[in-house]
């Protein structure tokens, strides 16, 4: 799989636990213990998820050695949503033009029907 930032963002977001962690962090910073609380998984599993999120730049960790609170970093998400918005625009314009193309074709079709 490609290692570009967008791929890392989408890969990080593909896991429901990681998305739930991000939703929680969007409300404010939290420690690993706090993040693990609502999930039926070990602290180690949560730490693994946090590493993936950190690798994708979606969170940052505090310097405090004991608690290392996690912060949500929205920039990669914005890049992902920008990319989706751009793709939507491309397809919308493409289909607008297909619509025009179909209109131009119609008279030809009608001519074919004539004897």
């Amino acid at each position: 799989m490609a290692n570009d930032p967008l791929s890392q963002t989408f890969a990080a977001l593909a896991d429901p636990t990681r998305r739930a962690i991000l939703v929680r962090l969007a409300e404010g910073e939290a420690t690993v213990n706090e993040l693990a609380e609502p999930f039926d998984i070990s602290l180690q599993a949560v730490s693994k998820h946090l590493k993936v999120l950190e690798g994708a730049g979606l969170i940052s960790r505090g310097r405090d050695a004991q608690y290392r609170p996690c912060h949500f970093e929205p920039a990669p998400l914005e890049a992902a949503t920008d990319w989706i918005a751009m793709n939507r625009e491309i397809w919308t314009e493409r289909f607008d033009q297909l619509e025009q193309h179909l209109k131009r074709m119609t008279p030809d079709k009608e001519k074919e029907k004539e004897p």
């Binding site: 890969a11 429901p16 033009q97 297909l98 025009q100 209109k103």
Partner: protein
Amino acid sequence: MSDAPTELGELTITRIFEARPEVVFECMTTPSHLTHFWGPIGMSTPLEGIKVEPRPGGRFETVMVNDETGEEYPTHGVFVEFDPPRTFSFTEADVAGGMTTAIVFNDLGDGRTETVTHQTNVPPMFMSPEAQAGLETSFVKMDAYLATL
């Protein structure tokens, strides 16, 4: 237009065309038609750059050219499904870690066709049943949050 809300990492575009499914499908899979509309506004898609091998595993390639700068944007798709005039889908391995675009052509029975274009950037290997089950709830929340950014 009746576009479904966009889930994070996914895109759905619904359009209705004033033509039968056979015609719309042919337009979207024939180079001599594609060259007229494939490039978005400000881009052209010259006929000689379009390759369509109409079968699963066949190539679906285009080169979009920026009308102002002449910069070229090649796309390298491979058909996954090719079932005229019902549906076709293709993957682009070099876009966002592997993007799949699937287009379904619904016959509205009155000479019109509804197309539903669904793009997903999430590679299939990450789309486990658990991940899919989680899409509903988590993405809805995430979308709500993103709307506030």
